[in-house]
C-alpha cells in the first residue's frame, strides 16, 4: 500500500491518544518483557570466549571471534619508534579529544592518533543531549539513582559517582570553550527530560548537541597544536618487560606502513561496535565503530566488563531504505512523541528506558502489530506531527532541524507525516573495565568513553554517553599527564602478544580472523 494510506491511522487516532497516559511497567513485567524480546537474551547469538582475561564468559559471536583474533604483528617486528610522546591518545571522537586537551593542558606532550579524520566518531552524531544535574530541583544523587535504575543496578558505583559529580564542571568547561547550549530566558541552562530520568537533565544544542561539542573540541585540538596522526589505525599495543603499556603500533591507511609510537601512557578512546552488525542489526554507528579498542586491550590482558549487553536504540529509521538504521533522536519522545502500532494504539510509556521501549517495539512487531516494508523490514510509527499539534506549529522545525533535513532529502516531511522506526544497534553498554582514573588493570593503559565498561550497567541512559566521554576523557588525560613527569619511557616489546598466542594454543587456537577489524568490509568483491 501507499505509505500515506498506512499513515492515516496515526492521524486519525492522534486526538484520542493525546488523552491517554500509559503507565510504566512494574519491575516484574519489565523483566519479563526484556527477557522475552530484548536481543541481549537471544541465547543462540552468544558463545563463551575460549581464552584470555574473560575466559568462559559469554558475548555475542561476532565480538568473541574478534577477541580471539590474531594480530597483524609478528614477533620480529621492528620496534624502532617513529614518534615518542608522553601521552598517546588513540581515537579522535569526544573522549579522545577531551583526553588530549586535558593532558595537553596539564603540560604533557600529547599525540592523538585516529584511523579516520580527527572528529570522525559517534560523538558527532549525538542528538539527544548530555545529562548534567544543573536544575535546582535536581542533584547529582538523583542523577546517580536514575542511572543505576536504568542500568538495572549493575553500574559500578564509584565510576557512576565520579561521573555525576564531575558533570557540572564539565558543562562549565565546555561553555568556556564556546559551546552554545540551549538557554532559558533567564540565561540558565535549559534542561529537557530524557527517557528513564526522573528530572529534566538534558543539556542540548537543538538536536545537534554532539556536533556542536565536537566542532568546538576539534577546533580546540587544532588551536592547541596537538600532534595528530590521522588515517592511522592502531593494530597492536606495546608492553614493557613488566606487561605495562608503553606505546602502540599503527598501520598508516594511506601507504600501509607500520608506525611505531613510544608513549609513557596510552589512552584508548576507540568507541563502540555497531559496525559489527551484531545479530544482523543495522546500526546508527559511524564507519569506524568496529570495536578495535576491545581487541587491543584484551590481548594486553585487560579485563572486559558487561560485554554481553548492547543497546538497541528504540528508534532507528526503517523507511526510506537509504536511512535504514540511522537514528531518529529520542528527543522526539522526550518532547511527547507517541509510538503507535499498526492498529493506531500506543503500547509503551515512550519515556521508559531504551531497553524497555525497544523490547516493546519488537514485541509489537513479532505479534503482528507492526508495519512492514516490501524489503522485509518491519517497524512501528513514531508520531512526529504530534509535536506540532501539542506545542504549536513549527516545533519540529525549531527543535529538530537535523532530523527534519535528514528526511526532507528523501521527500518526507516529518512535521506532517509520522516516521517508521525499529530498534537499531546503537551502543555497547560494557567495555574494558576501568577504575575512577579511567585506567585498566594493565598499568598505563587507560580506556575512556564507549570502549570502557562498568559505568552504564546493563543499559545506558539517554544523554549519559556525552557526559561519560567528557568526564573519563578528562580523568584519563589528567592522570596520564600527571604521571608522565616522574616516569621513564618503558621498553617496547610485544611480549604480551607471545603470551596471548601461547594461551590461545592451549585452548584451541586463535580464531581465523585478523583483529582489530579497522573498517567494515562493505566493498563488494565479486560482481
Amino acid at each position: 500500500m501507499d505509505i500515506h494510506a498506512l499513515q492515516q491511522i496515526v492521524h486519525k487516532t492522534r486526538d484520542a491518544r493525546r488523552k491517554q497516559t500509559i503507565p510504566k511497567f512494574s519491575p516484574a513485567d519489565r523483566d519479563q518483557l526484556i527477557h522475552k524480546y530484548h536481543p541481549d537474551y537471544r541465547a543462540s547469538a552468544y558463545r563463551p570466549i575460549r581464552f584470555g582475561p574473560n575466559i568462559d564468559e559469554k558475548t555475542v559471536v561476532e565480538l568473541a571471534t574478534l577477541l580471539e583474533g590474531n594480530s597483524l604483528i609478528q614477533d620480529d617486528v621492528d620496534l624502532t619508534p617513529d614518534y615518542t610522546t608522553d601521552v598517546l591518545v588513540i581515537g579522535g571522537g569526544g573522549a579522545g579529544c577531551a583526553a588530549a586537551l586535558h593532558a595537553h593542558g596539564a603540560g604533557a606532550k600529547v599525540m592523538l592518533a585516529t584511523k579516520l579524520r580527527l572528529g570522525d566518531s559517534n560523538s558527532v552524531m549525538a542528538q539527544g543531549g548530555m545529562q548534567i544535574s544543573v536544575a535546582p530541583e535536581d542533584s547529582p544523587v538523583t542523577h546517580f539513582l536514575d542511572t543505576l535504575k536504568g542500568g538495572h543496578m549493575h553500574n559500578d558505583h564509584d565510576l557512576l559517582k565520579a561521573m555525576v559529580d564531575d558533570g557540572p564542571a564539565i558543562a562549565k568547561w565546555l561553555i568556556e570553550l564556546g559551546v552554545l547550549f540551549d538557554r532559558q530566558a533567564d540565561g540558565n541552562l535549559h534542561v529537557k527530560k530524557g527517557g528513564g530520568s526522573s528530572k529534566p537533565r538534558l543539556l542540548t544544542c537543538s538536536d545537534y548537541t554532539g556536533l556542536e561539542i565536537m566542532r568546538v573540541l576539534k577546533d580546540e585540538v587544532l588551536n592547541q597544536k596537538i600532534q595528530l596522526l590521522e588515517f592511522c589505525a592502531a593494530v597492536e599495543l606495546l608492553s614493557d618487560e613488566n606487561g605495562q603499556c608503553s606505546g602502540a603500533i599503527f598501520k598508516d591507511l594511506d601507504n600501509h606502513r607500520f608506525v611505531v609510537v613510544a608513549a609513557k601512557s596510552v589512552i584508548l578512546a576507540t568507541g563502540g561496535i555497531g559496525r559489527l552488525h551484531i545479530q544482523g542489526f543495522p546500526t546508527s554507528n559511524h564507519y569506524g565503530a568496529t570495536g578495535d579498542g576491545l581487541c587491543l586491550s584484551y590481548r594486553m590482558g585487560a579485563k572486559l566488563a558487561h560485554i554481553d549487553t548492547f543497546q538497541y536504540h528504540p528508534s532507528g529509521a526503517v523507511f526510506p531504505e537509504q536511512l535504514v538504521g540511522q537514528l531518529v533522536t529520542e528527543g522526539i519522545r522526550s518532547e511527547g512523541g507517541h509510538l503507535v502500532n499498526a492498529k493506531g494504539e500506543r503500547f509503551v510509556n515512550e519515556l521508559d528506558t531504551r531497553d524497555v521501549v525497544s523490547s516493546s517495539i519488537i514485541r509489537e512487531c513479532e505479534e503482528g502489530r507492526g508495519i512492514r516494508t516490501m524489503s522485509g523490514r518491519v517497524g512501528v510509527w513514531l508520531d512526529t506531527p504530534l509535536l506540532d499539534v501539542e506545542h504549536g506549529p513549527g516545533t519540529v522545525e525549531k527543535h529538530f532541524p537535523a532530523m527534519l533535513m535528514q528526511f526532507d532529502r528523501f521527500g518526507i516531511d516529518i512535521s506532517k507525516d509520522p516516521v517508521l522506526i525499529y530498534p537499531t544497534l546503537h551502543y555497547q553498554n560494557g567495555g574494558v573495565k576501568i577504575d575512577t582514573n579511567s585506567e585498566t588493570n594493565v598499568k598505563n593503559l587507560f580506556v575512556a568513553g564507549e570502549a570502557s565498561g562498568g559505568l552504564h550497567g546493563r543499559n545506558r541512559l539517554m544523554g549519559n554517553s556525552l557526559l561519560d566521554l567528557m568526564v573519563f576523557g578528562k580523568r584519563s588525560g589528567l592522570t596520564a599527564a600527571g604521571r608522565a613527569g616522574s616516569m621513564k619511557q618503558g621498553k617496547l616489546t610485544v611480549q604480551h602478544l607471545q603470551r596471548f598466542r601461547a594461551d590461545a594454543k592451549k585452548h584451541g587456537n586463535l580464531s581465523n580472523v585478523i583483529s582489530p577489524m579497522v573498517l567494515p568490509a562493505y566493498t563488494r568483491k565479486e560482481s
Partner: protein, 255 residues
C-alpha cells in the same frame, strides 16, 4: 563478519522470518526495492551500473571501491563524504553528503578531496576583542564579493553568504544560530573567489559568541559550589552504605 548492509535486505532480526501473521495490506510499497532497476552512473568520470536508489556512498562500495577517506559518520553529521554531483543533462553541479543522497540514472559524481583551507589558530578564552580580532584572524572575511556561490554550495542549506556578512558586521549571535547546522564539510570554501573559508569563520564566530557574548548560567556555578562544599555528602553517605536490596528499594522511590 556480520551482515554486509551495502545492499541491505534484512529479515526480521529475531526470527529471521517475515511475520506472516499480518495482513498483506499492511505493507509499504517500495517498488524500487522489490525490483531493483540498474541505473548508469559515473563515478569520478568512469561509468558503472548500480541499483537505483542506493546511496552515493553505497554505490562506491557496490562498484568495488575501498573507501577510507570520504566516509565518516554515515549519518549526515560529519561532512566527510562531501560530494559534487550532476544529474542527467543538467549542467548544474550540485553538492551533497554521499551518505544522504540516493543515486539516479545518469548521475555523475566525485567525492570532494580535502581542501587546503587555512584555519586561523587562536586561544578563544583570552581574546580581548573577539569582534575586532576576526579581522586579524581572517583578514579575507570582509572581502566577500557577494557572488553567493558559497550559499549554493552548502548541502545543509545554510545562507552562508549572509552569514559571512553578519560576521563582518559583528552580528555573532545570528551567525552562531545560522551555522548550528554546519557539518564542516567545507564545500563553501573552494568556490569562494575571495578565498574565504566561511565554515571556519563561522566556527570562530560561534565559539566567540559562546565564550564571550552569552550570559553566564548562574545556576551552574551554584551547583558546582554545592558539590565542592559537600552539600550532598550526607545523602551520598546514606546511599553508598546501602546494601543491594536497600538501594534497589530506594531507587524505586525515585519517580
Amino acid at each position: 563478519m556480520g551482515v554486509s548492509p551495502a545492499l541491505p535486505l534484512m529479515l526480521h532480526p529475531l526470527t529471521g522470518l517475515r511475520n506472516m501473521a499480518q495482513e498483506d495490506t499492511n505493507v509499504i510499497d517500495q517498488p524500487e526495492v522489490m525490483k531493483p532497476r540498474m541505473v548508469s552512473i559515473e563515478i569520478s568520470g568512469k561509468k558503472y551500473d548500480v541499483p537505483e536508489g542506493i546511496t552515493v556512498i553505497k554505490a562506491l562500495w557496490y562498484t568495488g571501491q575501498e573507501v577510507v577517506r570520504g566516509a565518516g559518520c554515515l549519518g549526515g553529521f560529519c561532512g566527510a563524504c562531501a560530494t559534487y554531483y550532476r544529474t542527467k543533462d543538467d549542467p548544474k553541479v550540485r553538492t551533497c553528503l554521499a551518505c544522504q543522497m540516493a543515486v539516479q540514472d545518469g548521475m555523475s559524481f566525485t567525492i570532494m578531496p580535502p581542501f587546503p583551507a587555512r584555519k586561523a589558530t587562536y586561544d578563544i578564552q583570552t581574546l580581548k576583542d573577539p569582534k575586532q580580532d576576526l579581522f586579524n584572524l581572517y583578514p579575507e572575511a570582509p572581502l566577500c564579493r557577494n557572488c553567493n556561490a558559497c550559499t549554493e554550495a552548502c548541502p545543509q542549506k545554510i545562507d552562508v553568504r549572509e552569514g559571512v556578512w553578519k560576521a563582518v558586521f559583528g552580528d555573532f549571535k545570528s551567525v552562531s544560530e545560522m551555522f548550528m547546522d554546519c557539518v564542516m564539510c567545507g564545500m563553501c570554501t573552494p568556490v569562494c573567489i575571495a578565498d574565504i573559508a566561511p565554515n571556519l569563520v563561522a566556527l570562530y564566530v560561534s565559539r566567540a559568541q559562546g565564550a564571550h557574548f552569552t550570559e553566564k548560567p548562574l545556576g551552574l556555578d551554584v551547583r558546582i559550589k554545592e558539590i565542592q562544599d559537600g552539600r550532598f555528602n550526607d545523602e551520598w553517605k546514606k546511599i553508598l552504605a546501602m546494601n543491594e536490596k536497600e538501594l534497589a528499594d530506594h531507587c524505586a522511590t525515585v519517580k
